[in-house]
Amino acid sequence: MLIGVPAESMAGETRVAATPETVKKLKAQGHTLRIESHAGVAASVPDAAYEAAGAEITDAAGAWGADLVLKVRCPSESETPRLRAGATVVGMLNPFDATGLQRLAAAGVTAYALEAAPRTTRAQSMDVLSSQANIAGYKAVILAANEYGRFMPMLMTAAGTVKAARVLILGIDVLTAVIFATSLHFIMGPGGMHSFGHAAYFGLGAYGAALLVKWVAVPMGLALVAAPLVALAGALLFGWFAVRLSGVYLAMLTLAFAQIVWALVFQWEALTGGSNGVIGVWPPPPFDRAWVYFLLSLVLAAIGVLMLRRFLFAPFGYAMRAGRDSPLRAEAIGIDVKRVHWLGFAIAGAVCGVAGGLFAFAKGSISPETIHVGRSIDGLVMVLLGGIQTLTGPIVGASVFATLQDTVMRQTEYWRALLGIIILLLVLAFPQGIVGAFSSIWRKAGAKP
């Protein structure tokens, strides 16, 4: 195909639609490139550089007459007639400018406005907004600093500015992890249901809260009440199917449900914001201060964990264990094992939803990555790391995991690999989990006279 790159005519526009690197790539795909002479000068690219990359240097008519015309700005009134009828033009075409669009339509060209490309992960390479907008933002701050009469600290992005609150932020992360892992343990341990999709209920809680804030502007208190309810609804629905299976089939089904939730959130852009997620879910004062929010998380985590503990030592918890130990015997003493496990699944889902809600407000946002399958697996690791036998297991496991993750992440770019190795070593050292190992040491010590 013949691709043309005309020079930009708009005053102040220094960019150009192709660089020698992109020319090389297009050339390699078998296209012919015609660059208008001096098109790259304002962007510090001389004609020679384009020629070296394999492009032909032509006059304006040559570039405009191509099959595909690459532009930064929308062709102006005088430029539009230079496009060949049936040609294609790609650039930042300002799709909200009706007259400009009319003009292009009248010229009979096919036009692609890059700023209208969906901002999904797969379209990331076509994203024309963040790079330049980001730089504009930096420049705006520098200009403002120049005008401002007083001193201001060097702030570029939010990164690195939260150091003082790090302990609290980590604390909040640990607490949400504790709620997550304890609720997973509730069905995995006493219920014997090995869920590989617990992130679904975390996600339902987080998105439930965030979307209520975004669309209906409910206050945080109400959103945090709604979070477990949304998760409960999801867990009741999915759990009804899941308890009909066991072992690896149950694991597969829970995984599939988690993928459904993830896909729904990812693809239902109109409601959930797709890959961008929901932003601006900040807690109102006084919860906007890290330590107040930490206390809120602490209270909710304590309530969640103590409640689950109480359930486990109540008839219902006994019945869950009975159904796990021997479904045959449990049915033979009148226990409806499926129903008990179903309700257990729902309770665990609801409590997990609290973790999701807390997480959304702690981060101020929620996106599909945070509820991806990785989170389900993290939960399993936390439970197994701490030990599945007791309720203390997931609490210790979650605390160790969240702290390790935070620490390791700061050390190296390859933190996932390093974290994996550390977890592997811990699991090898404590096959019964950290709590399991300590309690057997305790027992041995106690057995000695």
Binding site: A314, D325, L328, E331, A332, G334, V340, L343
Partner: protein, 255 residues
């Protein structure tokens, strides 16, 4: 009065008539043994009574109510207790918790989320354990117990809902002869006190002939004999299914 009446019960798996038009009754307080060689249909018959299988045809009248096709837990609620061939208890629980669980379920308290289960029905549970001779072991984890003791726990669990009928699938399987007699003697004493009817299947004939009030014999899905120990021992058809026709032996001896 019959506690359980089986009327023309049949069940086929594919083309195999596992149970074929079987009828019998159990009177109140009766200790009835169901015997027969492997594949005679004992387990199928048993599993239809306790609700694990649905009969193709026929009636299972427990206290004049047809329970055919009810789920195991529904059958239990009506007053039918059971023990398993391989004793099933809740291995993560202590001995007393096993019994408490059965009592909790019997009291329709399974879905309570807030009460401390450890304090519920303790006295009644200890009382049941006392009766099966396991009170001393009340607080031991049940997975640490010997198999004979597990059987006793299971018996205590089975008695928790005060059943009028107890179904025992090979109660002495996997036990030493001494233990075997002790267990059956215990069962017999407990059910006589309570006037509970018992239907049990059994492979060891010494237990059957020593303890059963009445014996029914199944062979290839059909009921071939029904009577007391002496009449079963001499029943020609029973001898045939258990020992063959004896002709091989007779011929071999004469030659």
């Amino acid at each position: 009065m019959s506690v359980l009446a089986i009327r023309s019960l049949s069940k086929a798996f594919g083309g195999v008539h596992a149970v074929n038009n079987v009828s019998f009754e159990i009177a109140q307080g009766e200790f009835l043994a169901m015997i027969g060689p492997n594949g005679a249909g004992k387990s199928t018959c048993f599993n239809m009574i306790n609700g694990q299988l649905t009969p193709d045809s026929g009636e299972i009248l427990f206290e004049d109510r047809n329970i055919a096709g009810l789920k195991p837990r529904a059958v239990w609620r009506l007053g039918v207790g059971r023990t398993f061939q391989v004793a099933a208890t809740f291995s993560s629980m202590t001995v007393i918790e096993n019994v408490q669980m059965a009592l909790i379920s019997h009291g329709h308290e399974t879905y309570q989320l807030w009460r401390a289960a450890a304090q519920m029905h303790r006295d009644r549970a200890l009382d049941l354990l006392q009766q099966v001779g396991m009170r001393e072991a009340a607080n031991r984890p049940s997975r640490e117990l010997a198999y004979g003791d597990i059987k006793r726990i299971e018996l205590a669990i089975a008695l928790a809902n005060e059943p009028r009928l107890l179904l025992m699938d090979e109660p002495t399987a996997g036990m030493a002869p001494r233990e075997r007699n002790d267990l059956i003697a215990l069962v017999k004493r407990l059910v006589v006190e309570r006037k509970i009817s018992v239907l049990f299947t059994e492979h060891s004939m010494d237990v059957v002939f020593a303890f059963a009030d009445r014996i029914i014999v199944l062979a290839r899905g059909r009921l071939i004999a029904d009577g007391n120990a002496a009449s079963i021992r001499d029943h020609p058809q029973v001898r045939e299914v258990y020992f063959g026709t004896g002709k091989t032996f007779a011929t071999g001896a004469s030659s």
